[in-house]
Every structure is written in structure tokens, then in C-alpha cells.
Amino acid sequence: MSVLARPWSRLTPAGKVVLPLLGLLVFLTLALLVGFATGLIPGLIRFVGDLLGANIGIVRFVVAASAILLMSVPTAFVIIYMELKVIALMNLRLGPNRVGPWGSLHSIVHGLKVLGKEDFTPTGVDVPVFTLAPAVTFLAPVLGLLVLPFAPGLLGIDMNLALLYFFAVSGLSVLGLMMAGWSSFNKYSLLGGLRAAAQIISYEIPLTLAVVGVIMLAGTMSLNQIVMNQSGSILDWYMFKQPLGFVIFFIAATAEGNRTPFDLTEADSELVAGFATEYSGMRFGFFFFAEYVGVFILSALTTVLFLGGWNAPFDIDPVLNALGIRFDLALDLARLDVGLLFLLALGPVVGTLLIALPIWMLRSDWSFLKSLVIGFILLNVLLAAAVGVWLALSFEAVVGLGWFLVKTYFFVFLFVWMRATLPRVRIDQLMGFAWKWMLPASLVNLFVTALAIIVVSEVR
């Protein structure tokens, strides 16, 4: 027994994680080989396929939920990198530039570092609430992702009450912040949690009322339907039909996402770190991620509601037709026959050499091996770009996703830009602004919209 126990106890924590994983990998590989050899696996696949096919609804939900859960973390990484870099550039700094090209892996490094820190529960905290708070805060925006239509056909669930669901779920985040603030046994946290409650609940009202105009115009609460209603030209976007609603919604979304100038809950210079003061390690990481996923979903919702979602601002096909450009990329690979084999075998080699040779001849200080590696990487990049263009031209969903992401990240940039520029408002100014200005303005917007709808329908 001690033959195994001694080395195990001497392993570092990271080793204790990695070693079983390696063992598991080896076991799975062996099991797969054995399974294929004995013919068990194909039968299993057939059985499981039948089972899944019978319950396609559940499968779709599970796949969507796990895809979105997996997607949220890279999204957070991208936005963290944007925040680090954009604020740095606006400050006349260079920003992170040591890990990865242009420092692009720094956000991932920050995230992984947080994972490796000591997980610390201070004395005196309310342990269950303290433990649950980060999870609740993180899950709220992630659940919101489930109903967002990213592209035609690419969405988790096409719910007819999607908007209601969205507000209900994203309202949960305030619960997490309050739990964190209350359970931390720290007065700064308590103040941060109470501020979160007051702020987010106040801004829920103008946020929701601003959307009611859109709902009235669209006649539905399904996000997918709202986006479809905005298809056509750029003038069909609700941004132009609801300018006041758009402004109110954006300001309220800033407050809802705890972003500058409304980041009172985590006010660095006032309440040390607000509700997250006592959190360390990955629990703090959850708050960290939740904030950026929140930024993403609020930007995405703004895009969906007011900027036409995946719709392109103009139709590119007439332009292409007018210019006489036509893409016919329907390759029939089967026609190549034996040539396909040669293409697969020799294509990479020839391509790499074709790119590497000029590099090697131009750069006298690089070795041939380095040129080869660079050439191979470049070849792959070119291939990926070609495949991307092909995909974009072949499938509507990819174009839609592209437009959606462009619009969404424009709003993310706007959030970051505001953070780089603006100071923070005070709590009484914040509340006064919500109740004295935003609420009446959103009500006015509501009445004007209703009036306009009636007038337009009467005129018609």
C-alpha cells in the first residue's frame, strides 16, 4: 500500500490533477480500441443514436446549454483582453504584450492564475451563502445566453416569452451580489451588496419599459421574431423607430451590468472591492467572469432589440450582381478521383515550400527550419481564411453570425470606452437619475410609440 501511497502524497496538487487525467485518457483509448475491435462500439452508437433521436427536444436543450456554458468562458476572455488593451491604448500605454501575439493570451493567463490561487473562506462568513453567491452571479448571465439568437437558426431555444425569460434570469444576478455582500462579514461588502440591490432593481424598471416600445412594434416577445421583423434595409432597425428607447435602454443596461459610470457596487476607490472584497481565488474569478459575460449579453441584447440582430445593414447580393461577380464554389471533389490523393498528400508540402522559400531567401538571419515553420503556419492561416470565406459565402448563418458579432463587439467597445473615460456617479445621483429622468422618459417613449402605432394604422 505504501508503495503507491508515498509517491501519491509527495505529488504536488497540480500533479494530483494531471496524473489521473492521463490515466483516464489511456484507459479510454484502450477501451475505444477494444470496443471497435469487438464491434461493441458501433452497436452502442446505433443504440444511443436511436435513443437520442427519439428525444430530440431534450438533446437540443442539453447541447445548447453545454455549448453556451462552454462558450461563456472564451467570451469573457476576449472581453477581458479587450478591456485590458483598449483602456491601455486610450491611456497612451501599450498594455499587455508579453504573452501571446500582442499579449492576447494575458486574459487567459489571468483566468488560469485565479484558478490556481488559494480558496479562502474567512472566519465569520455565512459559509453556504458565501459559497453559493459566485455561482448564482455567474449563472445568471450565462442562462441569459440561452435565448439569444446569434444567427438564423443558431439559438438555444426559440421561446415565445424570451424577453421575459431574459429579464427574469438576468435579474438573478442581483441576488448573487446581495448574497455575496451580506455573507462576507465585511462592511464594505455589505454596502456593495446593498448598493447592488438598490441600483439594479431601480434600473430594471426603465430597462423593461424601454423594451415595451419594441414589443409593441414587433407584436411579440420572441427575440427571434423581433430580429426577423427588422430584416430588410437598415431603416427597419428599431434603433431608428425607437431612438429614445434605444438611449434609455443603453444607459439602463450600463447600470444593469455594473459598468462605469454606474459601477457603484464594485467601486474601487470607495468600497475596496465592493461585494467581492472578501473573495479570493476562483470564487472571485466567477465574479470577474460574470461581469464580462454580463457585458456581452447586454451588448447582444441591445443588438438584437435595436440593431437588427444578425441582419446585414445592406444587401450585398445586388451589389455583387451589379458588379458582375459571381461565386460558384460548389466543388465536386469526387471528380478529381486519384488526383484527390495527390492533392491531399502533396498539397501541404508544396504549399509550405512555396511560402517558406521566399521567406527564407528574403530573411538571411532565419534558419530554414524557422522559415518552414512560419510557412506552415501561414499556409494554415490562409487555408482557414479560404474556408471561412467559402463558409461565409455558402451559408447564411455564418454571415449572420459575423454581423451579429460585429455589432455586439461594437457595444462592448463602447462599454470599455466609457470605462476608460468617465468617472463614477454617486449613489443618490444614480437613483435620482433613474426615478426622475429615466422612468418619465421611458413612459413618454411608451405613450409616443402607442400613439404613433395608432396614427400609422389609422392613416393606412
Binding site: 483602456i87 486610450m90 491611456n91 497612451l92 500605454r93 473562506t121 472566519t123 465569520g124 459559509v127 459559497t131 462592511k187 464594505y188 454596502l191 448598493r195 462605469t260 459610470p261 459601477d263 457603484l264 467601486a267 474601487d268 476607490s269 470607495e270 468600497l271 475596496v272 470605462r419 476608460a420 473615460t421 468617465l422 468617472p423 463614477r424 456617479v425 454617486r426 449613489i427 443618490d428 445621483q429
Partner: protein
């Protein structure tokens, strides 16, 4: 989780016992010693104490303020100082006059060209020493440059405490240019140790002059840039205008000086009221504001930067030739007596009261630091405001803990 509050028993190492939770609080562990303490630490319903500092992002060093709050509103407060008490005055009395110069340096570490002037000017007064005119002009040049660096930081800090990230970085860009310039002149970036009894340590050099020329060409534009960011920003103005209003009587009673006093409309500037060095040969305005609030203090700082640039321009045009050090004995032993000197630092009246017994070291040295008197206004300004406003008020008073605690 619960394991952390369990410790091994002293009687039996295998037995774990529950340890009493250690709860750190702002309440001192002893019974109240004065009536004020008794009143302050008696909490009414709904009130709580919150400990701001000594490590807090916006206390500008190691100031500790115990706030008694009711919700977000500050009811009462108890500032605690002394976390940076280094005994500078005592150390100065134990060294020679030359030693006192560099020992006084870190008092006001944001603008140390002013605090290090104290023993120099006092000793020159005791020695009745005539400083060469070129040295005087170089001193004025260094002081005004340092004033601009300090004010640039002030503008950034005020904004940082209000939550704006960028202005402090623009302020630091400006400060870095000035400080690198002074580094070329003095050899150090923060604690210059440049002034000497009877002059300055070294004449202007080419590196300094070229950097100064570069900076002068875009100084006004840079100030404009920095102010454009926040001067008219509605959030900034909304948070500072009407906040922390000091009226003239209070300011005078609490001995406030510098921009804090000038923001209440009293044009009191040592450079004008009791001219020292060569300030009576230079032309400059004393900017004042009537409102006395945080925003007025901010605007006074902005105007003072412009005036300082104007002064530097004149100094460069009027710079005389000659030596930069007077002839002084190697061991300085002023006659017995007392001297009071004061100058206008970025934060107000910086003064020193010095006694000499005829030996080579100051017999007694007492420094009057403006930050201490300006900071003592917080007792009048903070109660009734919100917690977020305490940061704005404290930043607009611009305290430097090195001078307050000495």
C-alpha cells in the same frame, strides 16, 4: 470550511477545539478615555463604524478615518494619523544643517523641492547670507516645475477617487516629463536634495534645458488636454460642485492655506503676501474662486498650473549669469537665535520655526505642514455627506501623509 476556526487543543494534540473567532473592529479595545471618545463610539440605532484605511485606495497614503455611518451617510468621523510618523524633526536635530536638507526631503514627497527648502532658507536667514541671484532664479524654476508636477497629480487623483481611470495616467505623463527633467538637473526623481545652504547643487545643464524646451513647447496644450477630459464632464462637475463647501471664516479659523483658502476667495499667497526669493520681480496672478467647494479647488489648481507656466517663461527670460553657490564656511554654525521662514508650497504655507544654539546642528526644528491644517477641515466637511463624497472631499484637500505625520 469550518476547519479553519478549529485549532488543535493544547492539552491533547489529537483533539480539535473551536477557537473564538477573531473579529477586527474599529472600536478600540479599551473603555473610552475622553468625552469625545465616549460620544463617538456610542452607536445609536442603525449606525455603524467603518474603518477607512490605513490601507485604502483613496486615503492617499496611510491615513485612517473611522467613519460613523448611517446607511451611506456619514454621521461623524474620527481621523487617526501617525501611521507614517518617522520622527523627521528629531532626526534633523541630531544631524548637521547639511543633513537636515535631505532629511526634510521626504516630508512632502509629492513636491519635495519645497520641504527641503525649509532648513536651507532658515539657515540662510540665521546666517544672514546673500544667495547669488542665479541660484535664486534656479530655485524658483525648480519650485514652479515641481508645483506643476504636484498639481498634475492632484487633478488625476481627484478624478481617480471619483472613479475615472484615465486622467491620472495623463497627469502622470506630464509629471514624468517634469520629473525626468528634474532628474537631469538634480540626479533624483522624487527626493531631489538639490537646494544647498547658499545656493543650489549644480548649475543648469544641457540635458535639463533641452528637456525643458521640449516640454515648454507643448505644456499649455497638455494642460488643456487634461482639463478637456474632466473640466466640463457632467458627472465630474455634478459630483464636485457644491460639495465640501468651506466658508471663509472656517477656512481662516482652521488655518487653511493654499488652494483650499484661495478657493474661498481670499487671495492669500505667500509669494505675493510676503515675497521671498525673487518672486517680487516676477509677474503672476493669484487665482481665486468664490465658491469654496471641491470644484472651485480643482479650478484653482488648474489656473495655478497656467500661472506657473507663465512664471517659468519669465524666469527663463530673466535668468542672470553668475555663480550658483555663495561662499559659505565648510562647517556651518549659525549664530544663536530663532528664525521663522515660510514658502508657498502646492498645498499652502510651508513653514519652519528653527532655533539655533550656535552649534552645527539645529537646536530645535518645527515644521508647519499645510496638509495637516487643510486635512483638519474634514471634520467640518464630511458629516452629512455620503461615503462616496468623503473620497472627493479628501482628494480635493490634497493631503500628503508624509508631511502630516512627519
Amino acid at each position: 470550511m469550518a476547519q479553519q476556526t478549529r485549532v488543535r487543543s493544547l492539552d491533547d494534540p489529537d483533539v480539535f477545539v473551536e477557537s473564538p473567532a477573531t473579529i477586527y473592529d474599529a472600536v478600540p479595545p479599551y473603555p473610552p478615555r475622553t468625552e469625545r471618545e465616549a460620544e463617538f463610539y456610542h452607536l445609536r440605532d442603525g449606525e455603524m463604524l467603518i474603518n477607512l484605511g490605513p490601507q485604502h485606495p483613496s486615503t492617499h497614503g496611510v491615513l485612517r478615518v473611522v467613519l460613523k455611518i448611517d446607511g451611506e451617510r456619514v454621521v461623524d468621523l474620527d481621523p487617526v494619523i501617525g501611521y507614517l510618523h518617522r520622527g523627521v524633526e528629531k532626526i534633523c536635530e541630531n544631524g548637521t544643517w547639511h543633513h537636515a536638507i535631505s532629511n526634510c526631503d521626504p516630508l512632502e514627497y509629492v513636491a519635495s523641492m519645497f520641504s527641503e527648502a525649509m532648513p536651507v532658507l532658515a539657515c540662510e536667514k540665521l546666517l544672514d547670507l546673500q544667495v547669488p541671484r542665479r541660484a535664486e532664479y534656479i530655485r524658483v524654476l525648480a519650485w514652479e516645475l515641481n508645483r506643476i508636477a504636484s498639481h498634475a497629480l492632484f487633478m488625476g487623483w481627484l478624478s481617480l477617487d471619483l472613479g475615472g481611470l484615465t486622467p491620472i495616467l495623463y497627469g502622470f505623463i506630464e509629471r514624468d516629463e517634469i520629473v525626468e527633467m528634474l532628474n537631469a538637473l538634480t540626479g533624483q526623481r522624487v527626493l531631489f536634495n538639490y537646494l544647498r545652504i547658499g545656493g543650489v547643487n549644480g548649475d543648469l545643464n544641457h540635458d535639463f534645458m533641452s528637456r525643458l524646451g521640449d516640454w515648454m513647447s507643448h505644456a499649455a496644450e497638455q494642460v488643456e488636454n487634461q482639463t478637456k477630459l474632466i473640466n466640463e464632464n457632467e458627472i465630474f462637475v455634478g459630483r464636485t460642485r457644491g460639495l465640501g463647501v468651506v466658508d471663509r471664516a472656517t477656512a481662516l479659523r482652521m488655518c487653511a492655506t493654499g488652494p483650499v483658502l484661495r478657493a474661498t476667495g481670499i487671495p492669500y499667497d505667500i509669494r505675493r503676501a510676503h515675497p521671498y526669493s525673487v518672486y517680487n520681480e516676477l509677474e503672476f496672478d493669484v487665482p481665486t474662486r468664490e465658491e469654496g467647494d471641491s470644484y472651485a479647488r480643482y479650478l484653482v489648481h488648474v489656473d495655478e498650473i497656467k500661472q506657473s507656466i507663465h512664471i517659468i517663461d519669465q524666469v527663463l527670460h530673466q535668468m542672470p549669469d553668475g555663480t550658483v553657490m555663495a561662499k559659505i564656511p565648510r562647517w556651518i554654525r549659525p549664530r544663536p537665535g530663532r528664525a521663522w521662514v515660510s514658502i508657498e508650497s502646492p498645498r499652502g504655507q510651508y513653514g519652519a520655526y528653527v532655533m539655533s544654539d550656535g552649534s552645527d546642528h539645529p537646536f530645535r526644528m518645527r515644521i508647519r505642514d499645510p496638509s495637516f491644517f487643510n486635512l483638519s477641515l474634514v471634520g467640518h466637511l464630511m458629516p452629512g455627506n455620503l461615503i462616496a463624497d468623503t473620497m472627493a472631499i479628501m482628494a480635493s484637500l490634497d493631503p500628503v501623509m508624509g508631511g502630516i505625520d512627519k
